[in-house]
Point group: D2
Chain length 405, copies 4
């Protein structure tokens, strides 16, 4: 098999991880179930984080008949055992942990050189590389992230988009669930793995009350913490208040918090003036995408840090100790394992169904960014319910008529 990986002897470990994830992601299998190789004759190029969850998606595409190549959407996040397993299963894998930037780009080019019919990307780099190569032979693609969609929409706007792309990010079965519940759980999981701190009786300050903040606040409270929410948007602040949480400006909340969790998507949220007011022993964690929400650079500039536990650095500042987790990087990925597989299953089910949709309908699809068809979104939700053994009602004929008015 062509490809380039770090260590082929890791196959068995990768296989176990794949098997575990597959058990937790049965929605994916259910999409494939009963279908007769609808991807036969298609070549699919993937650029995704090379994790156990991704292996489930890639293997499903293969089982549906596709020939498959894979590179990593991030040079640092590759699970080498997963790469080894997939390569062993006949996937053209070009990915290893800690690729250089040049290697990272080369891997993407290798996937393009594989001549995919369909490209599935996380971030847009593969789509950009495809366009650099004039997108020769590419029928269509899918994109996982908001930022990737933004880049593709820019291409569309300037009439340069060369194939139709389905924006998986906007599926309701993705965005309604993975931020609130997935990030909610994994953020607390990351904080507990790093610190072992006691949540019951603590004061958790949640900065930002979007979907992620809502999930984190609800779960922290569910573990026995008192929660204070900080917001800049008055309507979100009002929601937090009516959900029973304390709401305060960060300057006041800073004095009370035992742990601070940023979930804003903003920059410079926790700053010098807030550090100055914090209690001795306060813990700082970020779960937003970028590491700019806590002004970690201020801390690094203003004092020596000591790593007291893995992912926990202690700063002395103003006569007290502050603890920064995972250098202010997204704590659920760095200190825990990111979204649980059951949540990734929702978004990857949309991916797989969208790939099948492109394979079938690419000829009639306009060269633009398409939303996930409602029928797919709906079907993914139904499969998720089936996976949980949940049945629901069907509207009666009379109700359908009533609804139409």
């Amino acid at each position: 098999m062509p490809g380039k990986i770090a260590n082929a002897t890791l196959v068995e470990s990768g296989k176990l991880s794949y098997g575990w994830a597959r058990t937790r992601m049965s929605i994916i299998e259910r999409i494939a179930k009963g279908k007769r190789k609808p991807l036969e004759g298609f070549r699919v190029g993937f650029c995704l984080h090379v994790t156990k969850e991704t292996s489930v998606l890639v293997m499903a595409a293969k089982e549906l008949g596709a020939e498959v190549a894979l590179c990593s959407a991030n040079p640092l996040s590759v699970q080498d055992d997963i790469a080894a397993f997939l390569h062993g299963e006949g996937v053209a894998v070009y990915a290893w942990r800690n690729e250089t930037q040049a290697e990272y780009k080369k891997c993407i080019r290798d996937v393009i050189a594989f001549k995919p019919d369909i490209v599935t990307d996380d971030g847009g780099d593969l789509h950009y590389a495809a366009h650099g190569a004039k997108a020769r032979g590419i029928m269509g693609g899918t994109e996982e992230t908001t930022s990737g969609v933004r880049r593709l929409s820019a291409l569309e706007k300037s009439k340069k988009l060369r194939y139709p792309v389905i924006a998986v990010n906007n599926a309701r079965t993705k965005y309604l669930f993975d931020n609130r519940y997935g990030t909610g759980q994994s953020t607390l999981d990351g904080i507990l793995r790093a610190t072992g701190m006691f949540l019951a009786g603590s004061r958790v300050v949640v900065c930002g009350y979007g979907w992620v903040g809502k999930g984190v606040a609800a779960m922290a409270h569910g573990m026995g913490a008192a929660v204070t929410v900080t917001e800049v948007d008055p309507i979100k602040a009002l929601e937090a208040k009516m959900d029973g949480f304390a709401v305060a400006p960060l300057e006041k909340a800073a004095e009370q918090g035992d742990v601070f969790i940023t979930c804003t998507g903003q920059t410079g949220v926790i700053r010098k003036e807030h550090f100055a007011k914090m209690k001795d022993g306060a813990i700082l964690a970020n779960t937003g995408h970028f590491d700019v929400e806590i002004d970690a650079s201020f801390l690094y500039r203003n004092g020596r840090s000591v790593e007291v536990k893995p992912n926990v650095e202690c700063f002395k500042f103003g006569g007290k100790k502050l603890y920064l987790l995972s250098k202010g990087r997204v704590v659920n990925l760095v200190a825990a394992e990111g979204h649980p597989p059951e949540v990734m299953a929702l978004s990857f089910a949309n991916q797989l169904a969208s790939i099948l949709h492109v394979a079938k309908n690419h000829a009639s699809m306009e060269k633009k960014v398409h939303p996930v068809p409602e029928s797919i979104d709906d079907a993914v939700a139904r499969l998720a319910l089936v996976a949980m053994s949940v049945e629901i009602d069907k509207p009666t004929a009379k109700q359908k008529k009533y609804q139409r008015g």
Copy 2:
């Protein structure tokens, strides 16, 4: 003062109710505060439920300088003491409890005859009457409800809308709060007032997981009940499941429920086949707008009912007793007092600010249905926070720049 009311001697009682509501609705006063009679010279015609909450809005308009007339948006719901109080304060009130249909229409015509510059309606009947009278002299209006907005949009579509209208219903500070929290609380309040039933340890079946269902489910659980949600929409069903509730088809839930609460906006939700499976002693309540969600007519046709307590009727059916609350009509209004004043304050603050907006800007507003300006929505949220003594953060210059990208 012109007008027609039931009983002028009820002034004192109405004044007390007004005073109580006003205390709970300080947002309204805050909107008026510091302003110098911006409604002076304007005549405002209101068609609203004549309740203590409405009296706060109407009095605020008066204090801002308006001359005011009022009729009822429903012939059955008038609080006669409120009508007496407002009339005593110089409002041209045309409203009394249990108007006939002809009287109801006459009252609306009386308000039109008052020659309002601005009309504020709940349901669209006043707007329709205004258009019947060619909307002479009317500068603009506001509308409280979805169904009123639907009627006005139809007028707009057929180019017959004669003045600009602001659709208060669509303000985020209205729809995000009054269904979930307001109806959530008042529904349980209605059930407790009617039955005194014990929620802890009971199984509450919530039909529908829209905003109302979400509120009812969360609060019923918060009182110690176990909750089963029924849905026809798989995505909402998935949300209910991930919020920790049991989800089942009604046919199965019917066997387990101690109390059933319909919140669907649909028709024929709880039917014969469900009654047949219920436990002895099951309680049936509807909190949807119309009384069609529980098939009460089936129960009435198939057995004698006995009123065992006010708002609680017992039906013998299939060897067991079922209890229907408030004849299947909206239980939070019939058995309790509807939305708490603090919640009505949010929607009436939008009303008042929209009236002020129309008074100031009507000349430049197109003759169509307008959303509540974002600045009003935002301001209402800020005032609600002030009323609760809640402060929030402001974005920094750097953050504003970051957000723009």
Copy 3:
């Protein structure tokens, strides 16, 4: 039938209330079920609050064969329709609403004159009267309340107790449930009926974190309120904190609360200095047994009060308005209906089973205050589970052995 009631024409109304309560208290019937008149030949004298729940207990005793007399445990709380119903069913009822103190005592003497074999009391007045009459012919009794038990224990100590009494109050199926869940719900119910206030987003201050406070705090939070607990006991304060609530001295909490609920069993909990710090519009409710927890007399001495709604009095104090509910008397009984019947069923099931126990075993019981036999406590719990269709596990032989060590 001998007896004295207010109004015999209220029979039908009483019968409906009885029927409703009976449906909600099926545990009582389950205790009687399958038994063959074990109380035949016994005369039982009851001194209880004459409510719909009591009628279920009294009727059950009758159906088990007893001859029954009843007077009221409180001269003010008699439901006259229930008295009429029971009298119509052949119970010697001596009770009407608003008895004078002399009438109250006469009614108790009438029940003693009925020559009961067994006496069931709520407070100890009937037991005292029985002892005054030398307890001639009385085989044994039961007592519902803590204070009654205290009086009886004093008798026992001084060797004056003339018959065995079972202290129902100490059954786990009573005290674990009726304070936490029963008072929890009915307290909020009372506050909502009186005020209609909006709990979501409000700050509820709960004074005291015993069983009642725990129930009130959990449910208030479950309705969307933020809760602050005040305590004098550091261990209870620590529990409140670890349950996720804010904990503060009342002096600080006074500034923040929208509603204050006393559940301490103490005197003078909310005082002048606290009133002085409260927000305009604060609401004061007591759910402790006696009306001494809020210093209402201070309020009455220091200003004119106006009743703005039933059970809501407004006081002007220090330039702001404070609202006192039900004159500081127990809000769940005055403004709502007290414990739900499902909760009373637990305590009355212990009563009924204890009466049966006394009837069977009085000869061998010592003349002292006995706890409810564990087998009864256990059986009541099992019946409550059956009433809720809940099955549980049985320990295996191996587990029984393991437990013995």
Copy 4:
């Protein structure tokens, strides 16, 4: 310094861990604060799990003036870096990871040879060894665990107890908190670290509704899981039901659970017949003290297991996969870090205050097992509140009088 440890070069690592724990356990320091070496002249022998939390207690005793020796309460659980750190600080440490049984006993004898005045034990082995040596010179001691207390009470009963011992286990500030909140959190933490499973939307079956079960159920629910409780005690089952949980026999719950958590203190709780009914992919975790709650030996006898992740073994059984965590051993200790330091602080504060009490009062204490003095229990709660910056009220003189009756 005398003593025997594994690796003296681990000092720095141990020091960091100690520093971290100390920050989280400020109650301990607060007990010592302001005191002038009250343990000067005393030799204290400790037999405890050699963890970061223990190091905080031991160092505090040292700072209060004591000379200190330490051995491990368990031959497998020693943190070698902590042992190295304490030894470096002048503690006579006799402890290393994976001691043989003979070495374990020798270490205990070494601590006895150190001639302690006071002995602090976890399990009773040190007390037994002391008695074996006729307890020469020992003034008194303390004991952490229930089982240790049981052994000492047996000694007392047979008049063989040679010095007074304080049973720390029975302090309310210990047992009210460490099971419910400490084990509650760490159990979920262990399950998440092992599996990364998604709690929201899952069905968690909690076997046993004692303090541990109550904590686990509340927190699992707080993370978004639906919870089913199984019980053999009808009163606890009723509590679970009224707390809003589903209650069912394990045989039924087995069909629905995604994860099963045993918290019973019993043996053979989850057995063959339950495994047979479980869903494919079910996860089995035990958090009871002994590894007998899940019948793991049945699984091991009946199929090959594969470790799919650390602490996760997969068994194929009846055509499906079951996952057993940490071999059925206590999951919060094996897969996570046991009680958070903030919780250990409560129990070790009782230890330290009890040691001080013995040092001061041993002469007047009877040679029996004493409860922790209420004043200590109370003081620990107060210090815990101070550590959380929580203030509470004091009873007024009037209230004190009222309480006395």
